[in-house]
Amino acid sequence: MALIDTINPLLTTGWSKGDAGWSLKDYEARGGYAQLKRILSSKMSQDEVIAEVKKSALRGRGGAGFPAGLKWSFMPKAAPEKYVVCNTDEGEPGTFKDRDLLRYDPHSTIEGMIIAAYAVGAKRGYNYIHGEIFDIYQRFEEALDQARAAGYLGERILGSDFSFDLFAHHGWGAYICGEETGLLESIEGKKGQPRYKPPFPANFGLYGKPTTINNTETFAAIPFIMGMGGEAYLNLGKPNNGGTKLFSVSGHVNRPGNYEVPMGTPFAKLLEMAGGMRGGRKLKAVIPGGSSAPVLPAEVMMDCTMDYDSIAKAGSMLGSGAVIVMDETVCMVKALERLSYFYFEESCGQCTPCREGSGWLYRVVHRIEHGEGRPEDLDLLNRVTDNMMGKTICALADAAAFPVRSFIKHFKSEFEYHIEHKKCLVSPEVQRAGSGFFKAGAA
């Protein structure tokens, strides 16, 4: 699923040749590594690099949206040993942008990480790539070999006195390893479980050393920011929401795939780029930022623009930019059952509320979906989610709770119908027709 469409291609400039354009020479032909060369040859100061990134208002693309430049500035200057880590443990259901970034243009991430390492004074970096995309991990290793051979990585890069090496590390498919401190634990060879914060990774990160950890897309944007300047990058998007963003559009659209659009692009425009609704059916709901973001009903979503602030105002999160589109054939109870199962399976088991609560949620939603719901179940679900949220080390409990609360909030009548009539408001035939696996009427 390559890039389908774009406005202002930046991150995706190299994607047009598909699998034929990823290697070092292609990247260099597109102007790759020019920014690294410029920074090193002009002996740009670390503070200048960070200032440029701050100016761009680049916000973390992994989901939390924390300003990248600010994060870098937290790194203690004097520490002798520091790390830069890239989070490609793209586990959020609905998200597949980092996979394609590394498939079609791995060197932009590598260059971004080298520049970041230069800015924060790190000598070693890791890219943690989730285990299900092993071929991407292998390609990244190849790209690293190319970069090392060309002198972009290793001792005294390009003749400067800056040394940095970068390693790929692949996970084994645990969602929790996408949480940054769980990821660090996993690199260290331990069970992937989030750490209590503070201390934050900038003080106590990988192997207890100061560490900057960012999402793949965040790093990939760095060379472009350095190329066009922070100001210009910011102006591509909206104030406080700089640049372009990759959106992974999935669900009931005609052309699911990754789309790069400037921050602040109307959702309607994105939907249009994705070919509109499949079969011309009516939009029912959208999860705008990956499965852990609260769902928004169609009418709310159609008024949103695609940026952190607009989506937040509507009551959800831009998250990782995974836009899950659902049409009128979707049973919201069944959809929630699937989501709740995911969080039940992926809770790491460390904190009591999440370990116990995620299973409770799933079992109750499962019961409702299977015609064994009780009138008091909806209150129970709301109470259990309330007891989970904000009471755990990491945000997974919140991620498990948000879908439950938002589905019930916006589609309560469907849940009530399920409980009362012990079946779906949306008939199974309609659901099958919309699923894409069955041709309408074929049953």
């Binding site: 209590y196 399976e345 079992r363």
Partner: protein
């Protein structure tokens, strides 16, 4: 210091404290499960959530650091709501099988559920079931009850030193388990039972035998190693059912070794001697006390009359109480014999008569944790003194440098700064090298006897580590005390301590290793020591609490000598076949749990205790038996009404610490050179064979630490002898007797050394702990 406010009360606490520590200072209880003051912070149970002003969410009190001006509310609506929410989550998958759970009545979850739980459950889904795990003979599991607090995991990793437990799987499927196919084998494993806040980990020997509220509790003191761990002995109908730690930060902290926790099973052993017995015409008869005491007193008096009083010897167990030892020596001296000793495993007595005082640890136990440089000389530390090893493990993590000089390289699970591993005969020379090297670094003159040695790289590394600190200590282990050049090692350690401006001392082997000296249970002028009494056979022996064939340096010699003696009077809680063979009269005396008494631990602390249970059968406290024997024999000064009277006479009152503690020795000629022809024996005393009580505790005997002795050698030795690990061998000690042992590779042993455990029936025939062995393929 920062100032904070908890529930409206302000206080000053140290920077870097956590909220739960601050609350503890105020006496405010915050409910918790995963938090434990001795373990790292996990913050996973979430029970300790409290409200912090300006924080948007409730914060875990165990992990939240105090900041100046912080306002904490532990009982606010937000806090209590969060705590109740967590309690509900904890209970939904918990079996609630309290009526059949061993933890019932002493369960943190049960207790807190009363305060924070609802009276009924809203959870109506299926509950989780978790398969049980086999953790070995000591710890039983009911993993369905586990609340995944990970205390047990953190204990094995942080306190015991090796992560034998871990959490596998994710989320609701998470399970605490050992490595696949492995058990939890640390010598401290029982502590995870105490740490477990629910009934997931319970005591295998104890479980299903009593409810906690049926048990009577008595404070007591461990009768095993020299630490003197404080105990709570729990009894039901005068039978000891369980032993738990009594927290004492200066001694055992909140821990117990497995030996201390589970040896109580031996108290209920079928081998308990419960009636006095005398041998008449070669046959044993159970008799009344007055008959047995008459018999014993006549036997001793007869020998004294016909062969002279020096024909009587007294072998006293170092695990006997201060009062028992004192009365025993007083009795023997009253009869005119100076042949008294409790140092049964010692082989070098050349320091006798040159000692400035009672040998001891040389510092407080708690001071060990303050040393920044430590040299442990000749010690199977992790097995001989598990809780001192634990202290050093924590010190090493804080940056203290620990070095080892020994004849085996057992993994102490402590990061070592330097080590020298050599055959027993080489230890004095290497210690001399360390002394010389330290003197050179410190620029002080070394003893002339030391000046001649050549400093090896290992000795230099140890010296450099020791000299680089500001508070050094040298700890002499059991192996050093049993060494044939023990006095030399002691003198050298003394020189080393002087050069370093540090401390040195002995890790007491037994509960009363210091108390024996205090009780004067050592030979006086002209008397024979423990070894001499066996080499120069006496006509009569008084044996108190010991099994000489297992507890003496040369068990075979002890057995042979006692068998030949005309009269052996044994005071013991147990009977054994060997005893029945050599004794003339067996007097059943109380083990520690059935008598009052005192142990003086390795730091010189006199710790008294009362009986926790009534004496079993016709057993009587040994101090009473000795008192009556004294009366019967007409010895003066035996008018004691209580063990406290005896104690007052020994200690001159009731001081907390014994007086006269001093490790100095005068005029010992250093004996460095000893080239040994043949394979030197390294004899350890496996921890669960070290004393008669532990030897009779069935659960301890099933642990890995109680494995049958083998002939351990390094790879070079095995190759030289044409042996492979697992081959059967015949091991001899020069005499005619040989024992059959399995050869086993131990890569940590030096060359020309065979390690064969002592204190075990399989190896008694080999005789002396320090000897030269022959090994051939069987």
């Amino acid at each position: 210091m920062v100032e904070i406010e908890i529930d409206g009360r302000s206080l000053q606490v140290d920077d870097g404290s956590t909220v739960i520590e601050a609350a503890h200072k105020l006496g405010t209880y915050i409910p918790h499960f995963c938090y434990h003051k001795k373990l790292s912070i996990a913050a996973n149970c979430r029970m300790c959530l409290v409200q912090v002003e300006k924080a948007p969410k409730p914060m875990p009190a165990c992990a939240t650091l105090v900041t100046n001006g912080m306002k904490v509310f532990t009982h606010s609506e937000q806090a209590v709501k969060a705590q109740k929410a967590v309690m509900e989550f904890l209970l939904i998958n918990h079996p609630l099988d309290c009526p059949i759970c061993d933890q019932g009545g002493e369960c943190q979850l049960q207790d807190l559920a009363v305060g924070y739980g609802e009276s009924d459950s809203k959870y109506e889904e299926e509950k989780r079931v978790v398969p049980d795990k086999d953790l070995g003979p000591l710890v039983s599991t009911d993993m369905t009850r586990c609340i995944n607090c990970t205390r047990c995991i953190r204990f094995t990793a942080e306190i015991a030193g090796f992560m034998e437990l871990g959490q596998s799987f994710r989320g609701e499927h998470a399970e605490v388990m050992p490595f696949i196919g492995k058990t939890v084998d640390t010598e401290l494993s029982g502590n995870i039972i105490d740490l477990c806040p629910v009934g997931a980990l319970t005591s295998k020997p104890f479980r299903f035998s009593a409810r906690t509220w049926e048990l009577s509790r008595r404070k007591s003191v461990s009768p095993h190693d020299g630490l003197g761990s404080n105990l709570i002995v729990q009894t039901k109908h005068d039978r000891v059912m369980r032993v738990l730690p009594l927290e004492n930060e200066d001694i055992n902290e909140c821990w117990l070794t497995d030996k201390e926790r589970f040896s109580y099973q031996g108290l209920n052993s079928a081998e308990r001697l419960t009636r006095p017995m005398v041998k008449q015409g070669g046959a044993w008869q159970e008799v009344d006390w007055n008959v047995a005491l008459d018999y014993a007193s006549h036997a001793l008096r007869d020998v004294a009359k016909t062969h002279g009083s020096e024909a009587i010897g007294g072998l006293l167990s170092p695990h006997a109480t201060l009062e028992e030892m004192y009365l025993a020596q007083k009795l023997l001296r009253g009869l005119g014999s100076e042949n008294i000793d409790f140092r049964l495993r010692q082989s070098d007595f050349s320091a006798d008569g040159r000692r400035k005082g009672t040998p001891w640890l040389g510092m407080k136990i708690a001071d060990i944790s303050r040393l920044d440089r430590v040299l442990v000389v000749g010690s199977f530390l992790r097995k001989d003194h598990p809780l001192i090893a634990q202290r050093l493990r924590q010190s090493a993590k804080r940056g203290a440098e620990i070095s080892v000089l020994h004849s085996a390289d057992d993994d102490l699970l402590i990061k070592l700064a330097a080590r020298a591993i050599a055959a027993p005969s080489q230890l004095p020379a290497i210690l001399a090298q360390v002394v010389k090297a330290v003197c050179a670094i410190k620029g002080v003159a070394a003893d002339t006897a030391v000046a001649g040695v050549t400093v090896s790289a290992e000795a230099q590394a140890i010296a450099q580590s020791l000299a680089s600190g500001s508070n050094a200590g040298i700890l002499l282990g059991n192996f050093t005390q049993q060494h044939p050049q023990a006095a030399t090692l002691q003198a050298l350690a003394g020189q080393l301590a002087v050069a370093l401006g540090g401390k040195f001392g002995f890790l007491g082997e037994a509960a009363n290793s210091v108390g024996g000296y205090v009780a004067k249970a050592v030979p006086g002028a002209g008397g024979l020591n423990a070894a001499a009494m066996l080499k120069e056979p006496r006509q009569a022996y008084v044996v108190l609490g010991a099994e000489p064939e297992l507890d003496c340096a040369d068990g075979a010699l002890a057995l042979a000598t006692l068998t030949k003696a005309a009269a052996v009077v044994v005071l013991s809680p147990f009977k054994s076949q060997a005893m029945l063979d050599y004794a003339a009269v067996l007097l059943p005396v109380s083990p520690f749990s059935e008598t009052s008494g005192t142990f003086v631990n390795t730091e010189g602390r006199a710790q008294s205790f009362y009986a926790a249970a009534k004496p079993l059968g016709e057993t009587r406290p040994a101090w009473k038996v000795l008192r009556v024997l004294g009366n019967l024999l007409g010895v003066a000064g035996f008018e004691f009404d209580s063990s406290e009277d005896v104690r007052a006479e020994v200690l001159g009152g009731t001081p907390d610490f014994a007086s006269g503690l001093d490790n100095g020795i005068d005029g010992v000629a250093l004996n460095l050179g000893a080239s040994v022809n043949g394979f030197e024996r390294v004899a350890d005393v496996p921890l669960h064979f070290a004393d008669p009580l532990a030897r009779r505790a069935p659960a301890l005997q099933q642990t890995r630490d109680a494995a049958a002795p083998a002939a351990h050698m390094n790879a070079v030795m095995l190759a030289k002898l044409g042996l492979a690990s697992g081959d059967r061998t015949r091991v001899g000690a020069g005499g005619t007797a040989t024992v059959a042992l399995t050869a086993q590779l131990d890569a940590g042993l030096p060359d020309r050394v065979v390690r064969v455990a002592a204190a075990h029936v399989d190896t008694v025939a080999l005789g002396a702990m320090c000897s030269v062995l022959t090994v051939e393929k069987a």
